[in-house]
């Protein structure tokens, strides 16, 4: 016990003496939370729009107004020529062109239907899709309003006729659960926190252990009667503690800055984080056993991290991955922890709700620690 306590003390002295370490521990969470959360969002805030109003009527102005008032569409230019609109798309000045053909109002009033044309630059499919659905919603809303107006003008017989032909309004009301404002930051924050503790756990631990090899101190340590488990505990526990601190620090920042909801029990999050960190630190130990220099360790850790993060559901939902990739994510501890932390923070999941993920992490932790500890040897062959 005295040996472990002393190893821990030595480790902390070294960590806090390292000039790059403190900025990493305190700077990384702040930068990740402040920068990444704003950057990693799929919300489409502004769609530069060119409006070709060939009608110039009250109805067309009304429609344009509806587009502008949403705040999602910013008008870059009004014109009457389709050609100018196309030009703007080519020159990337506009992402969308809304074409209101001449006779729009007349058609609406006489035939009860009129056409508008929407042209989108679909180079970025995501943005185009979202802009299209926004536009469709606005137009649908507009046509509803117009129809009611027309019907109220039309003779009562026509009204009953329309009702009889099944043309009644069907109001669709969306309600978004667990994140009612569809706040992307609330959705991203838990995932970013997972990324943060994983980086700390994997990179710092593997590099720290390899450093002993690189500098040669491992040679001196290995001839001492220090036990394997003492060495491993002495190496991993400091980073476990740092990661837990980072998680608490990150959650606090999230609460203070973004007012992230913490619906569930924070205890469940830290309990899961404890197991998750054992997995990550075990991986770090494993990486350190297969490398000789900090550079190699960093490269391998980076490679593992990138795959885990891209397949974790942090940026892209696992549900939309091909079936084989979904199977691969079953072996991804990052995916489990992201799911746990998102569910507990945003949905208020209880332990029973995340039990499957929790036990998966436990199993993972046992296996990875066993492999890593077996590979770590004090004697070389």
């Amino acid at each position: 016990m005295r040996t472990i306590a002393y190893l821990l003390q030595k480790e902390f002295v070294q960590i806090f003496r390292n000039k790059q370490m403190l900025p990493i521990i305190f700077g990384l969470p702040i930068v990740q939370l402040l920068v990444l959360i704003h950057a990693a969002t799929f919300e489409v805030k502004t769609v530069p729009t060119h409006i070709v109003d060939g009608d110039k009527s009250g109805a067309s102005r009304h429609l344009v107004e509806r587009f502008v008032s949403t705040g999602y569409f910013t008008v870059v230019q009004f014109s009457e020529s389709m050609k100018l609109g196309e030009e703007d798309i080519k020159r990337r000045k506009a992402t969308m062109v809304l074409v209101i053909p001449p006779g729009f109002e007349k058609d609406l009033l006489t035939r009860g239907a009129a056409k508008v044309n929407i042209i989108l630059n679909a180079l970025d499919g995501g943005i185009a899709g979202i802009a299209q659905s926004y536009a469709a919603m606005i137009i649908a809303g507009y046509s509803q309003e117009i129809q009611t107006e027309i019907m109220s003008i039309a003779p009562p017989s026509a009204q009953t006729q329309a009702a009889a032909s099944g043309n009644t309004m069907l109001a669709v009301r969306n309600s978004f659960w667990y994140n009612p404002e569809l706040n992307y930051k609330h959705f991203m924050l838990p995932g970013i926190l997972v990324l943060l503790v994983s980086l700390v756990g994997l990179f710092l631990s593997s590099m720290n252990i390899v450093k002993e090899k690189e500098v040669g101190t491992i040679e001196q340590l290995n001839v001492t009667p220090i036990k394997k488990y003492q060495f491993i505990i002495g190496k991993l526990v400091p980073f476990w503690m740092i990661a837990m601190f980072e998680l608490a620090f990150g959650l606090t920042l999230g609460k203070l800055i973004f007012n992230t909801p913490i619906v569930g029990n924070v205890g469940i999050i830290f309990l899961s984080a404890t197991v998750y960190m054992i997995v990550v630190l075990g991986l770090g130990l494993f990486v350190s056993t297969v490398t000789e220099t900090q550079q190699q360790a960093m490269f391998i850790a980076w490679f593992i991290m990138i795959i885990f993060v891209l397949m974790s559901g942090l940026f892209t939902p696992i549900e939309s991955m091909p079936p084989w990739a979904q199977v691969v994510t079953l072996f991804n501890p990052v995916a489990y922890f992201i799911e746990i932390i998102r569910r507990v923070l945003l949905k208020g999941a209880t332990f029973g709700d995340i039990e499957r993920q929790w036990w998966s992490l436990v199993a993972y932790a046992v296996v990875i620690i066993m492999i890593a500890v077996r590979r770590y040897r004090k004697v070389s062959d």
Binding site: T3, K10, I218, E219, Q220, T224, P225, K378, S380
Partner: protein
């Protein structure tokens, strides 16, 4: 017997780093493994200090087998690797305290062992180990290897990269430690350090060429040896090699060391021959062989045995 090795061998792939070595070292001896870089000294030390498993043979240190009883052995041996391997970001004092603690002892308990060495670096005890000079690093490493009062001390090339004054001091320290009854095994590429050991093993390409006291090794040098000098050294080498009685000729500092194959050769015969070759300024003195001469002679004989 402090250390015994029987057919101890280790290979890395096709390279036989250590070839089936057998030797023994007495208690309280200051024993030197002398050989050039790549001779297998570090591999041998790593096996004797339980850091590496031998492929063939066995070895025991203090009666403990290096493979089976490594746990007990680690408590009783001190090892100073060739590379400085203390924590550069910890201070002198922190390093020492760290190694004392993981050996379950304290600096105070064994301070008498390291006092003479430690007082030299004590003024810098708050300084980080990485900022010490080479000689001071060496002293700190020695302190750390000694702090748990080992019965046997392995020093792998302790004087490599250390200035001449520090080297001399270092050997003085080893003598003091030997006086305290610690068996010391040291390796070095410097031939001149051989004479400071009780016994030495000359090692080359994983084989021991000879084991004996430095005096005996030198005495075994069987042929008359001459130091020859001339203004034109390079041509002198060629001329001497052309001499019909030449046994070996190699440059040695400002001289050429020349061994004659006749037991009764005289320096005058050599100068006379050289004068005939146009080296009128040539001087030759009969000299006593040193360890390096013996090493050169042993290296040239293919069997690794004494010159026939």
């Amino acid at each position: 017997m402090a250390i015994t090795a029987e057919n101890l061998g280790k290979h890395f792939g096709d390279v036989e780093a250590v070839k089936s070595l057998s030797f023994h070292i007495e208690h309280g001896e200051l024993f030197g493994f002398i050989g050039p870089d790549g001779a297998g000294k570090t591999t041998l030390f790593r096996m004797l200090t339980t850091l590496m498993l031998p492929d063939t043979g066995s070895a025991s240190v203090l009666g403990l087998d290096v493979v089976r009883e490594y746990k007990n052995l680690r408590n009783r041996l001190g090892y100073m690797p060739g590379r400085f391997s203390l924590y550069q970001d910890l201070s002198v004092e922190e390093n020492l305290r760290f190694f004392a603690t993981i050996f379950n002892t304290t600096i105070e308990e064994n301070y008498h062992l390291i006092r003479d060495i430690y007082i030299q670096i004590e003024p810098f005890k708050k300084r980080r180990a990485g900022q010490l000079s080479g000689g001071m690093k060496q002293k700190l490493a020695l302190c750390c290897a000694l702090i748990h009062k080992p019965d046997v001390l392995f020093l792998d090339e302790p004087t490599t990269g250390v200035d001449a004054v520090s080297r001399k001091e270092f050997w003085e320290m080893l003598k003091d430690l030997k006086a305290q009854g610690i068996t010391i095994v040291v390796s070095t590429p410097y031939m001149d350090e051989a004479s400071l050991c009780d016994r030495v093993a000359l090692i080359q390409k994983g084989t021991i060429l000879n084991i004996n006291t430095p005096e005996a090794i030198v005495a075994e040098y069987g042929k008359p040896l001459f130091a020859v000098k001339s203004a034109r050294m390079y041509e002198l080498l060629g001329a001497l090699r052309g001499f019909s009685f030449a046994h070996s000729v190699y440059p040695f500092g400002e001289f050429v060391h020349y061994t004659d194959s006749r037991a009764e050769a005289q320096p005058e015969e050599i100068t006379a021959y050289l004068a005939g070759q146009g080296f009128t300024d040539a001087e030759a003195h009969s000299i006593k062989a040193n360890i390096e001469d013996s090493f050169m002679a042993l290296m040239e004989s293919p069997s690794g045995q004494e010159i026939p």
